[in-house]
């Protein structure tokens, strides 16, 4: 039987999940994002769970410490509770530290899904595809030279030479013979393909300011989180453009700021090329997202955009999403052009206007609410 504390623990987890859901809007609109920890876990700061008590205001309070230094020198390190190896006898748990809670990707996605009542995504093609993959996880005694495992072979040879007494420590020469050879060998595994690719495109021309980019960043974080919880494998590609487009890594995507004109078609062309070369739409669920403030260089280019969308992007995608981030300089024309063509309940096109940080969640709901 589990210890009763597991029930307290489950209760605690439930309470914090509720708190996070209650505060989700605040978290999102303040751009406060859970910190990914790299193992599928996220760290969420939770200041609200503390029991309120009468206590001293601490900043002015200061304290007493131990060590070298002159008045005026900074005091380093050690918040309460840190680095004390010999925790004493049982007692109180005062502590002023902020609570940080670890949540898994699934738990976090669940909270988002709950709050926005998002439907689960039905992957394209109804049934998931099966495929066999070879994984090189074991070691065999036969195989091609290209798969020879050098270290294991060396070890075998060493073992043999020691046991036969031919190993000389003063002249440590190891010569493997045929029977020492070891090879990586594969085992075949059936895997279910259930993969998605998200292609983010963003206008980084002068009119897209820091606030606009911050919105895109926050929004894409939560979109990724949701899609990751829905698909087994997910790839994310980033395209930035002004008058021309290029593929970049995530970091560059959010940091770049260019001046100059805007040709949205350049991004769409690149997006099309990426899909054509890397993602067979029979095997991949494809999600192109484009964010801009709605300005395009010319109506000519917008026409070109619509052509590419119609012929090359929409037919291959689960959904094409356009998010228009309001800015002081943007005319918002592109949204008008798109919405004239793709009516509100278009199967594979979702358009969303994002006025400010407060409307990020609603926009996510626009994009993901269709369950496609």
């Amino acid at each position: 039987m589990d210890h009763p504390i597991k029930r307290d623990h489950a209760r605690f987890r439930k309470i914090i999940k509720g708190k996070i859901r209650d505060n989700l809007r605040k978290y999102v609109s303040q751009g406060e994002m859970p910190i990914p920890k790299g193992n599928g876990q996220f760290k969420v700061p939770m200041p609200q769970i503390e029991t309120p008590r009468f206590r001293f205001g601490d900043k002015s309070q200061g304290g007493a410490g131990q060590g070298e230094g002159q008045p005026g020198d900074p005091v380093e390190g050690g918040e309460q509770g840190e680095g004390q190896p010999g925790q004493g006898e049982a007692g109180e748990g005062e502590g002023n530290k902020e609570l940080e809670v670890d949540l898994s990707l699934d738990e976090l996605a669940h909270i988002l899904g709950d709050e926005l009542s998002l439907p689960n995504i039905e992957p394209k093609g109804k049934k998931n595809m099966e495929s066999t993959v070879d994984k090189y996880t074991s070691i065999g005694t036969v195989g091609p030279d290209s798969l020879r495992h050098y270290k294991r072979t060396y070890k075998e040879a060493l073992k043999r030479q020691i046991s036969m007494g031919t190993y000389n420590a003063k002249n440590p020469v190891i010569i493997p013979i045929r029977s020492d050879m070891r090879y990586r060998s594969s085992t075949s595994k059936v895997e279910f393909e259930n993969s998605a690719v998200v292609i983010y495109m963003m206008d980084v021309s002068g009119s897209m300011g820091d606030e606009q980019k911050e919105i895109v960043r926050t929004e894409s974080f939560w979109i990724n989180l949701w899609l990751k919880s829905q698909y087994k494998d997910i790839e994310i590609r980033y395209i930035i453009h002004d008058a021309s487009a290029k593929e970049v890594d995530e970091d560059t995507f959010f940091r770049t700021r260019e001046s100059g004109g805007t040709l949205i078609s350049s991004a769409f062309k690149l997006c099309r090329d990426i899909i054509q070369s890397d993602y067979n739409s029979d095997e991949w669920n494809i999600y192109p997202f484009h964010f801009s403030d709605g300005d395009n260089w010319s109506t000519e280019d917008t026409k070109l955009c619509l052509d590419i969308l119609d012929n090359d992007i929409i037919p291959h995608s689960n959904m094409f999403c356009y998010g228009q981030v309001e800015s002081r300089y943007g005319s918002g024309q592109f949204f008008k052009d798109l919405s004239a063509k793709y009516t509100e309940n278009h199967e594979r096109v979702t358009l969303s206007k994002i006025k400010n940080k407060e409307s990020i969640l609603d926009s996510i709901k626009d994009f993901l609410g269709k369950g496609k």
């Binding site: 489950a10 008590r53 410490g65 900074p74 005091v75 309460q80 680095g83 925790q87």
Partner: protein, 496 residues
């Protein structure tokens, strides 16, 4: 599933050896039961204050969460856990090395001696294991009867009061800290004001309450209640007795209050208790129990425990050094009128009257002091310098904490103010009938440090849930006398 195991074989022999050394040195303690367990179990026990059974509440789960994580990430590690009961229970971590167990055992005997002999622990319930388990049963029963969420929410509220205690209660005899055992089904029926009614209940024999004659709710009665509770710092008891709450709610306040008082002496003697335990583990190991091959490992663990921090005083370090300093001073006669009044620096430096009273003195100190009196009486200028102590302060200009002073008096008063009222603000009842409207007026006895007003507001919100009338507090902010009020809707400053 068995979570802890009795010690056997090598560890049992070790226990007998260490216990023998402890007794030889004159330590005196209730029997110590050592149990071995894995780290997960240590985390569970630590989260529950050392006790195997507590009432159900999410915060134990929260502490468990943080403790287990602390271990996974290597931030902190719990080495030992002792609880103040008779017999005294102590848990050994199965993954500890033999030399660690040795150190831990010796350390535990130090704590066990302290628990038994320090006068602040005189009235703690040595059968707390059973009491805690009973509290768990009771609260589970309330949860079945009134709903889990409702009871839990009430506990959440009461936890806001947990530090509103009066240390003098510790000396009022064993009964004073106890929760009252109440009859679940008891519901008084009369038409007096709720607050008054509850107050009267506590003063009257419960069985006769139903027949109690009506008492006029006139000014003089309210005044007399007000007078009786004025100045009380045992606010948990005050609310338990006087607030218009259900009996089960009063019982829960009582339960939480009893547990809070049980842990209070440990909060008041952290430096002494850890210092004393560290003093003895060090003494027993270096003089008796340590083998040559273990010296390095011992030194490593010991110095880890003694590590200094710029941000915080390490109670282990300051504690052990103070005990050693006292022992040295009383061995050499560096105390008393003659020594203190001696102006010859050279003579003072080489002072040795060979009084050899050190050992006797530290035993006496561990008996009668708490952290405040300990620091107040034995913290000397020389000691302060030797320990490289300083005070620090937040500098708003640079946005960081900076060393403020190395002046002895300042450091001492900083230490003392941090320890006063176990580090929490001193709050008392100023009036239970403020403005003659049954409002509660609390008073923050200001001792140099302002309250955190945001926390105060949230705390008053919770007290309001219990008192059900406006809750006010009288305090000092930036050297000006101010009062705040929470009237059930908003928190605001009021004029007095």
């Amino acid at each position: 599933m068995e979570r802890t195991k009795a010690i056997r074989g090598e560890l049992l022999e070790l226990k007998n050896e260490i216990e023998g050394h402890a007794l030889d040195y004159g330590l005196s303690f209730y029997p110590v039961v050592f149990e071995v367990c894995n780290y997960d179990t240590v985390c569970i026990l630590a989260a529950q204050g050392g006790f195997p059974s507590r009432y159900p509440h999410w915060r134990f789960g929260m502490d468990y969460d943080q403790l287990s994580k602390g271990n996974t990430y290597g931030f902190q590690k719990i080495y030992e856990l002792v609880i103040n009961t008779d017999p005294c229970y102590a848990y050994l971590l199965s993954s500890n090395r033999y030399v660690d167990q040795k150190l831990v055992m010796a350390h535990v005997y130090g704590h066990a001696d302290f628990f038994k002999n320090n006068s602040w622990f005189k009235n703690t319930d040595k059968k707390m294991m059973d009491v805690m388990a009973n509290h768990g049963t009771k609260i589970r029963r309330y949860m079945e009867k009134y709903g889990h969420d409702k009871v839990e929410a009430f506990i959440d509220t009461v936890l806001s009061l947990e530090n509103l205690l009066d240390i003098n209660v510790l000396f009022q005899g064993p009964g004073a800290q106890k929760s009252q055992v109440l009859d679940d089904d008891f519901e008084p029926i009369d038409k007096r004001s709720q607050a008054l009614r509850s107050f009267m209940n506590s003063k009257l024999d419960k069985r006769n309450t139903k027949e109690t004659a009506k008492v006029d709710e006139d000014d003089s009665t309210l005044k007399s209640i007000d007078e009786k509770v004025r100045g009380t710092r045992d606010i948990m008891k005050f609310l338990m007795d006087c607030a218009p709450i259900k009996e089960w709610q009063a019982d829960i306040i009582g339960i939480l209050r009893e547990e809070a008082y049980y842990f209070l002496p440990q909060r008041m003697t952290k430096i002494m208790n850890e210092g004393w335990a560290s003093y003895w583990h060090s003494k027993i190991l270096t003089q008796k129990a340590l083998r040559d091959s273990e010296v390095i490992d011992f030194a490593e663990v010991h110095s880890g425990v003694m590590a200094m921090s710029q941000k915080q005083i390490n109670p282990y370090k300051i504690g052990i050094e103070l005990f050693r300093d006292i022992e040295y001073r009383w061995d050499t006669g560096k105390f008393g009128k003659d020594y203190l009044e001696c102006t010859d620096m050279h003579a003072k430096e080489n002072w040795n009257k060979e009084t050899n009273l050190g050992r006797e003195k530290i035993f006496e100190v561990r008996k009668s002091h708490n952290d405040i009196t300990f620091i107040d009486e034995f913290f000397t200028e020389e000691f302060c310098q030797r320990q490289k102590l300083f005070t620090y302060k937040y500098n708003p200009r640079t946005g960081r904490n900076e060393i403020d002073s190395r002046d002895f008096q300042e450091i001492k008063s900083k230490l003392l103010s941090q320890l006063t009222n176990f580090g929490t603000p001193l709050i008392e009842v100023e009036s239970a009938n403020f403005q003659n409207r049954g409002e509660l007026m609390l008073k923050h006895v200001h001792q140099g440090v302002d309250l955190d007003i945001n926390y105060a507001a949230d705390t008053m919100r919770n007290i309001y849930k219990i008192w059900k009338r406006p809750v006010n507090i009288h305090t000092i902010v930036e050297e000006a006398s101010v009062a705040y009020s929470f009237n059930g809707k908003e928190f605001q400053q009021i004029k007095l």
